[in-house]
């Protein structure tokens, strides 16, 4: 994890691309930055692959729907909670 960007080339434009790509993906990049990044992507197949892979990765896990609380987990939670709350009421 120390060098997760090791697959990014050392070319200054690519380093700059890697620095700004999170803002781009999250819609936080300015129009100028977006244009700059898009221009770079058209010229650099390496960064184009990186961007495509990141977009697909995010799309993939964002499409995961949230899960329901399992019945057993909910039961345990409420049992513990009721013990705690009743304990408080008895002290009062």
């Amino acid at each position: 994890m120390d060098e997760p960007d090791s697959d990014v080339s050392n070319c200054p434009e690519c380093v700059e691309f890697a620095r700004l790509v999170t803002d781009y993906l999250d819609g936080d990049a300015t129009i100028e930055v977006r244009q700059e990044l898009m221009l770079h992507v058209h010229l650099c197949p390496h960064c184009a692959r990186l961007l495509w892979g990141l977009e697909r990765t995010i799309e993939c896990y964002r499409s995961e729907s949230s899960c329901e609380v399992p019945a057993s987990a909910r039961r345990q939670l409420w049992e513990a909670l009721m013990r705690e709350l009743r304990g408080d009421e008895q002290e009062d």
């Binding site: 997760p4 936080d28 990765t57 993939c60 896990y61 949230s66 939670l77 909670l81 408080d88």
Partner: protein, 201 residues
Amino acid sequence: MARRNELQVAPKALPVPDDELVRRVQAGKTEAFEELVRRYERKVYNVVYRLMGNEQDATEAMQDTFLRAYRFIGKFQFKSSFFTWLYRIATNTSLTKLRQRKSPVVMSLDEPVGEGRDLALEVPDYKYNPEKMMRQRELRTALKDAVDGLPPDYRSVVVLRDLEGLSNEEVSKILKLSVPAVKSRLHRGRLALREVLADYL
């Protein structure tokens, strides 16, 4: 039909705001805490499940989160939203448990995804396409393994930001990190996930 329309426009009671419920709990009304639990149990469960990686630990972490929240709610000063405060407790509880864990949990590929999880799977497009359905299932397993394989500091950011959909600012408040630090961990986490998921993309 007219009767149905009448029913549709019937005024609906607005939910009591979180802060008001917190004030009621602080005043000794324990039933207000029950309402807060009902409101957030699913969100909390999803965060802790994604951080802990299995149902048993998630059940324990969810329980600890709400019990700690109840014990400390008297000290809640409304400097943040209740939701941010609760997420912070859930994240810290899970991260503490993860750090205490001696060895990583190894999930069997044959293990069922978990009670309740299949209910949440919404893949109607693949209903009549077993191949795509199987691939989607494989992808879910790979995704879960990939997230579980991230170091806790990266995992917490990816889970809160990308899976729970919180903003960078909210994540920074929950984890007590600067926004640039959140972005940096998010970027590294996403890169690591992309690498693991490369075969499925």
